[in-house]
């Protein structure tokens, strides 16, 4: 059956650099990337949490460390992954409830997700400085 052979020869893997993702697709892959980053950052966050509670000296050391712009940037990067993951997750829950499933609203909510995640990070940056 030639049709089946033809189907079997189709390229199985696409070149990710040549795929042009629509905005909901970008939100989706960022949801995955941010989730993976949050998982990898877990021990760091737990350590920071433990240290901050441990003693006034440790808390003060923590505060001093956060005084440097590079640690602020690192914290903001982590906060962005959290905010983006949260917003994209809320969008997922809405889609599960059949809210905004048509293409137009799905694109709009994708833009809203991206913007809200960045806006919350900017707000955190303002509070941090």
């Amino acid at each position: 059956m030639p049709a089946n052979i033809e189907a079997a020869r189709r390229p199985k893997y696409l070149n990710p650099l040549r795929v042009r993702l629509p905005l909901p697709g970008i939100i989706s892959i960022l949801h995955r990337v941010s989730g993976a980053l949050l998982f990898l950052a877990l021990p760091l966050m737990l350590y920071a949490f433990q240290q901050s509670l441990a003693s006034p000296a440790a808390f003060a050391a923590f505060k001093t460390a956060l005084g440097h712009w590079y640690s602020k940037m690192a914290l903001l990067a982590l906060l962005w992954t959290y905010f983006h993951h949260l917003c994209a997750g809320l969008r997922h829950l809405a889609l599960d409830l059949h809210i905004g499933v048509d293409l137009r609203s799905a694109r709009r909510s994708a833009r809203l997700t991206l913007v809200t995640g960045i806006a919350l990070t900017v707000l955190a940056a303002v509070l941090l400085w």
Binding site: R32, G35, A36, L38, F39, L42, P43, L46, F49, Q50, S52, L53, A54, S55, P56, A58, F59, A60, L86, G89, L90, H92, L93, D96
Partner: protein
């Protein structure tokens, strides 16, 4: 031939539901925590410590973090199923992730109910 169970996706529907329940729990806890931070900004160690003194706050923190670990397990396992083709390697990764998350769970209890 690799069995369905070995590949990692044993209860897709249950996992789908758990992912959403833990996510909702964490979202609610996040809002509550932000409200607490706004109500009483922890400017020093004693006010930060004060924040976690009530038992229900520690219980909420435990709920949040355990939800995060379960949520992370399902998420990381899905990533492994998508990108790691070799099943043996995938199983090694599963073991490492489960080991790490179990250790984090024990560490969490130690942090929340330890001496501070």
């Amino acid at each position: 031939m690799v069995s369905y169970h070995e590949s990692g996706a044993n209860h897709p529907l249950r996992d789908w539901l758990v992912q959403r329940i833990t996510a909702t729990l964490m979202a609610v806890c996040t809002l509550g925590f932000l409200a607490m931070l706004v109500a009483a900004p922890p400017i020093d160690h004693s006010s930060w410590r004060q924040l976690f003194l009530p038992p229900w706050v520690r219980l909420a923190a435990l709920l949040f973090l355990f939800s995060a670990y379960w949520h992370a397990w399902i998420g990381v396992r899905n990533i492994c199923m998508d990108y790691v083709g070799n099943v043996r390697l995938r199983q090694i990764l599963y073991a490492l992730v489960i080991g790490a998350l179990t250790a984090y769970a024990a560490w969490t209890v130690q942090i929340l109910w330890g001496k501070w």
